[in-house]
């Protein structure tokens, strides 16, 4: 087989991969157009966040850059100016999302393991019920929860938010990890069992360490999705459990003085954690975003 391949570099290429042709120049041009469109809004946000109060309404690219907007947004002075306590919202987001992910991992890992390792009656029902949460319109659950939370005193509490965020994080964790546990060869655990390990120890000492990258990817992706969620805190929280996504929209509303530069600075601060986390798990993103359906 290897002998018949005379032009290995050439035949490795899929359609449209030939280099240095009119086609390839057009293709690179297409890529550049997309990335100008894709990156321009982000670049403009950075520029706007670096502008001072006088320049914030101008549409020029020349300005005197200042870092002070980032400091102002998270300071008490910024809170007085915009009546948005962004610092508190950041902390709340961290606690809500961290809490939700931990709960999802503690509860989701055993369930994912059971579903990935054994075919038992009701297994696929449970899994598809989880998946349906991913696709169900959120308000179907949130409107009744709004009423229920107000009745039982969970409205605007972090516990209430962690509970409702399971709707986002739990399906993600369970489905991604199930696909990892399914790929895990059973022989490994069996070898441990034969060596006298208990089932629990075999799981903790053998299976868990191997799928650790998967667990990390699922946890970080769940954190990103929880962080980026908007509907839940918008409806079920107020000042005590309100998150950055809700806080950021308040910069725009509330009439009177507009602070475009502060809004942009806040947008960048709020967007950074998901971006950094996403870049660290880039290898696992495709599998995670597709709930394990596409194994890249």
């Amino acid at each position: 087989m290897a002998i018949t391949r005379f032009k290995p570099t050439r035949s490795e290429l899929l359609p449209g991969q030939r280099r240095l042709s009119p086609g390839s120049v057009t293709a690179d041009l297409g890529l550049i157009i997309w990335f100008v469109f894709s990156l321009f809004p982000i670049a403009w946000m950075v520029i706007l966040a670096l502008k001072n109060a006088q320049e914030q309404t101008t549409t020029y690219f020349q300005f005197s850059p200042t870092w002070s907007n980032f400091a102002t947004v998270v300071s008490d002075k910024g809170t007085q100016m915009t009546s948005v306590d962004f610092k508190a919202a950041l902390l709340t987001s961290l606690l809500n999302c961290g809490g939700a992910v931990i709960v999802s991992l503690v509860i989701g890992i055993p369930a994912a393991y059971a579903a990935g390792r054994w075919k038992y009656k009701g297994s696929s029902d449970l899994m598809f019920q989880m998946l349906s949460f991913r696709f169900a319109p959120e308000l179907m659950v949130i409107v009744p929860l709004f009423v229920i939370y107000n009745q039982i005193g969970l409205f605007d509490t972090k516990v209430g938010m962690i509970w409702v965020l399971q709707l986002v994080t739990m399906p993600l964790v369970v489905w991604i990890l199930r696909s990892y546990f399914e790929d895990l060869p059973e022989d490994l655990e069996q070898a441990a069992l034969l060596d006298g390990y208990t089932r629990t120890r075999a799981f903790v000492m053998v299976a868990l360490p191997i799928v650790r990258p998967g667990i990390a990817a699922a946890a970080l992706l769940a954190f990103i999705f929880a962080w980026n969620n908007y509907v839940f805190p918008l409806i079920l929280a107020d000042s005590n459990a309100g998150t950055v996504t809700v806080a950021i929209t308040k910069f725009l509303g509330g009439g009177g003085q507009a602070y475009y530069n502060l809004t942009a600075a806040a947008a960048i601060i709020a967007a950074l954690p998901p971006l950094i986390l996403a870049l660290t798990i880039q290898r696992y993103l495709v599998r995670g975003l597709s709930f394990g359906a596409v194994k890249a």
């Binding site: 319109p137 009744p144 034969l194 908007y230 947008a267």
Partner: protein
């Protein structure tokens, strides 16, 4: 299931511990082995029930006349459905949701596949861009909405300035708003389609392409007859995710237009939000959501069956 039954152990002859294991392993009684997956799933089941409970309550609300002004509701059968289905505004919401979901999904799929094709060429520019491809996707949709809202601003926004549209063109006026929210949606989510399809392209077998290149097939012929059929399952997964998400779109539209101007971008979820959270008419909002849920459920069932067929066909084509 049959993890440690003695039957499987003798098939691994070169394992020294095997005889000892045959003696030890059956000490776990069958009923405990059978019960194990259920025990592990119980906490997750509790969560599922905890989420299903408000769902069922919401479905029940749709048959009550429950609102903040009417805290002691009673059963009204299908009155809510009659009033919602006879309401012009509801059908406008259905229309907006349908147009948005179909248009955004179609454009994102076409652009995403195109982008994946361009990135799959592995040019130097492509390698650099692939690293930053997912940036818009990882920014919260609501923050993307804020970013674009600042850019859309007729006087202070950058878009009119850069595109030379003067300072009166309003991107979010009633005639342009739906276009603009689709634009923002495709800015966020085209990379999602692209990375899924790109992963699919990279997993394709190389031999069919080599063979057809030897036969002198044109690039377009290879793409249409070879690549597309094999990629179809990947594209469908992306389409399912995008279409289902677009049917229940809320975040970025809400921050951009809040469903306006008037009802120009009032999707079903925004309509439900207005009715149940702003006007505090829980029953009417729940009726909206129950109807949307039925639409989502039927669409999901249909798309998943299409995906199943495509996967079987692709598996057949590859083997």
């Amino acid at each position: 299931m049959t993890t440690q039954t003695p039957k499987t152990t003798p098939t691994q002859p070169d394992r020294p511990a095997a005889p000892q294991a045959r003696r030890e392993l059956p000490t776990v009684p069958t009923w405990r082995r059978k019960l194990r997956p259920y025990l592990l799933s119980i906490p997750a089941l509790v969560i599922v029930i905890g989420i299903l409970y408000p769902f069922v309550v919401g479905a029940y609300y749709a048959f009550l006349n429950y609102a903040a002004v009417n805290p002691n509701p009673h059963f009204v059968w299908f009155d809510n459905f009659k009033s919602v289905l006879g309401d012009q505004v509801f059908w406008q919401s259905v229309k907006v949701t349908a147009i948005f979901a179909v248009a955004a999904t179609a454009v994102e799929t076409v652009l995403g596949v195109g982008l994946a094709l361009l990135l799959n060429r592995s040019s130097i520019i492509g390698k650099i861009f692939e690293k930053v491809l997912i940036l818009p996707l990882m920014i919260a949709p609501v923050i993307a909405g804020v970013i674009w809202k600042l850019m859309f601003n007729p006087q202070f926004g950058i878009l009119n300035h850069v595109l030379g549209l003067g300072n009166t063109f309003d991107w979010l006026s009633s005639s342009h708003a739906l276009f603009s929210v689709v634009l923002v949606d495709l800015w966020i989510f085209t990379p999602f389609v692209a990375i899924l399809v790109l992963a699919g392209m990279r997993s394709l077998p190389k031999e069919p392409f080599e063979a057809s290149e030897v036969d002198g097939a044109s690039w377009f012929y290879m793409f249409r007859k070879l690549m597309l059929p094999m990629l179809w399952p990947y594209i469908l997964v992306a389409v399912i995710f995008r279409f289902m998400d677009n049917l229940k779109v809320f975040d970025h539209i809400y921050v951009l237009t809040a469903g306006g101007p008037g009802v120009a971008t009032r999707t079903l979820q925004i309509g439900a939000f207005e009715d149940s959270i702003i006007n505090l008419d829980y029953s009417r909002g729940s009726t909206y959501m129950l109807l949307l849920w039925i639409i989502v459920f039927i669409t999901a069932r249909y798309l998943v069956s299409v995906l199943g067929k495509a996967q079987r066909r692709a598996a057949g084509a590859e083997s």
